[in-house]
């Protein structure tokens, strides 16, 4: 479904702030799988997701989704294939417009926008039916402005909108990180449910070890722009939170060791 080959990206190349965000990343994701990407801050996990979504163009490498090479596609063109939920619960919806107007835009994600009236009673009834599955009572508030909803409600609706037309690939960028614990749990549960019901292919960046262990069927760990661990199948099933923490520790110690040794060598030879 998703195929990434030799993907590299360096930000601020040639300056003192140069950051090697992705270095020759290879990743393949099968249809119908749900992959979590974890890693420390600055490990490149969000960069990887944004590269797939098309927020920037990579320096090297290729990305293809559903056998389409999308490497040079603009961000908006990729929406035909990709549904997205952002970390900021306000990023995925238009606050000044009604819930119904927001959803009607998602009902034509990546398609032509004709000059026909967008909303009528029939469309709204269809909407209400699907919004009811969120069990938040929002189906009776379709005409309310999106801005009057809580972060959790908006994130749940963004998730519903991203999957309204079945995307080839669903990208979730720490989509529960900015929510209170209760809403985060609710949105996580909705995520699991929607992905299972529609048999979606999904990638989720997360900081929550619990989510990484419970929700997906594959966990990829990134560090300094590289994939350093890849738990799948049986290995993933046995995976527990302490295992992940231990791996984090090991990676960080190795890095610390590397740097200390480098410093020692510098002192001795320079």
């Amino acid at each position: 479904m998703l195929e990434i080959k030799g993907l590299s990206k360096t930000f601020f190349a040639g300056t003192v702030n140069e950051v090697r965000a992705l270095s020759a990343v290879d990743l393949q994701i099968e249809e119908g799988s749900f992959t979590a990407i974890i890693g420390t801050n600055g490990s490149g996990k969000s960069t990887l997701l944004n590269a797939i979504a098309g927020s920037f163009l990579p320096d090297q490498g290729r990305i293809s989704v559903a056998n389409e090479d999308i490497t040079s596609w603009s961000e908006f063109r990729r929406a035909v294939l990709i549904g997205r939920v952002f970390q900021n619960p306000f990023a995925g919806t238009a606050a000044d417009m009604s819930i119904a107007e927001n959803i009607v835009m998602a009902m034509r994600r990546g398609l032509k926008r004709p000059l026909t009236t967008a909303l009528n009673r029939k469309v709204k009834e269809e909407m209400a039916e699907r919004v009811r599955t969120l069990k938040m009572g929002l189906e009776d508030r379709l005409d309310n402005p999106m801005g009057t909803l809580s972060g959790g409600q908006r994130q749940a609706l963004t998730l519903l909108m991203a999957t309204w037309l079945k995307p080839k690939l669903l990208l979730l960028d720490e989509h529960t990180a900015a929510l209170d614990p209760k809403s985060a749990a609710k949105v996580a549960e909705l995520t699991r449910q929607i992905i299972a019901d529609d048999n979606l292919t999904a990638m989720m960046v997360t900081h929550s070890m619990q989510q990484a262990v419970e929700l997906p069927d594959r966990v990829v760990m990134m560090h300094k722009g590289n994939i350093v661990e890849d738990y799948r199948h049986e290995q993933k099933k046995r995976l527990r939170i302490p295992d992940l923490l231990e791996t984090f520790d090991r990676i960080q110690k190795r890095e610390l060791f590397d740097e200390t040794v480098a410093d020692l060598l510098k002192k001795q030879y320079i």
């Binding site: 952002f86 995925g92 004709p114 009236t117 967008a118």
Partner: protein, 313 residues
Amino acid sequence: MNLIIGAFTIGLILSLLSLGMLISFRMIRFTDITVDGSLTLGAAITAVLISSGWSPWLATTVAVAAGMLAGSVTGLLYTRFKIQEILSGILVMTALYSINLRIMGRSNIPLLDTKTVSAPAEQWLLSVNSGEASLFVAGWQVSVMDLSVLISSLIFCVLIGWLLLRFLLTHFGTVLRATGNNVQMVRAQGVNNNLMIVISLAISNGLVALSGAMLAQYQGFADVQMGIGMMVWGLASIIIGEALVGKTSLGVTIAGTVLGTILFRLLIAIALRWGLNPNDLKLVTAFFVFAALVAPQWFKSLHRKLSKSSNHA
């Protein structure tokens, strides 16, 4: 009475300008100063074409097309060449000043005894009024010509307002409105947000040029200076409209903008009648817009202060 009819007519004509600016200012939130140039552009083209014998309808259509072109240029400067939005507008507005002079060949073109788009209304009124050139409305003597322009402007205004409302409620119009609200979201829904900005500015400036075309036909001349300060006038009208009726729905917003423009024109007509120096008009307008923009914040902080002091007591 003539004062009121005049204010209403100009108000209705300029409400096309305000409706155009409603798209740029309120829908896609683009501070578009092209308006000052495209209003004159519409007037200039109409005046030149009508005085060289074109049908007023055709001339007006060409004016609208030219306005749309001017708007798209501003949009392209902003989206394609990444020039700041204000500067994009200023560049096009400045260029239009020379272009307008080129089109007109001189700084002022009179339009006397020529056919205008209000000719059908005038003929109808004359036939109803058995050929008399003036008639009585509620005891006041009004010339058929003035009344026919008023009727035509009203028809134009209602028609354009209705079309605009229908347009903004379509699938296309919905994403257009969202572009000003949340660009990230619009892109994630597969919409080319840059294209939306160019199209919005084209429609916006098309309406402004239409307003200029009607204004030239009503006033009986086109002048290269007539667009100066029009953006601030349009903004003032939009603000008055929002204060009048609020922003509860799109239809209300559009109606409010038209009402706001008319009320603003009436206020100006009254102020001039009371002896306001016409030279001070733009200063007063600018001050009014400043006050309207600052007042809400000021009231809010005042309210906070008051509630704070009452808590302490």
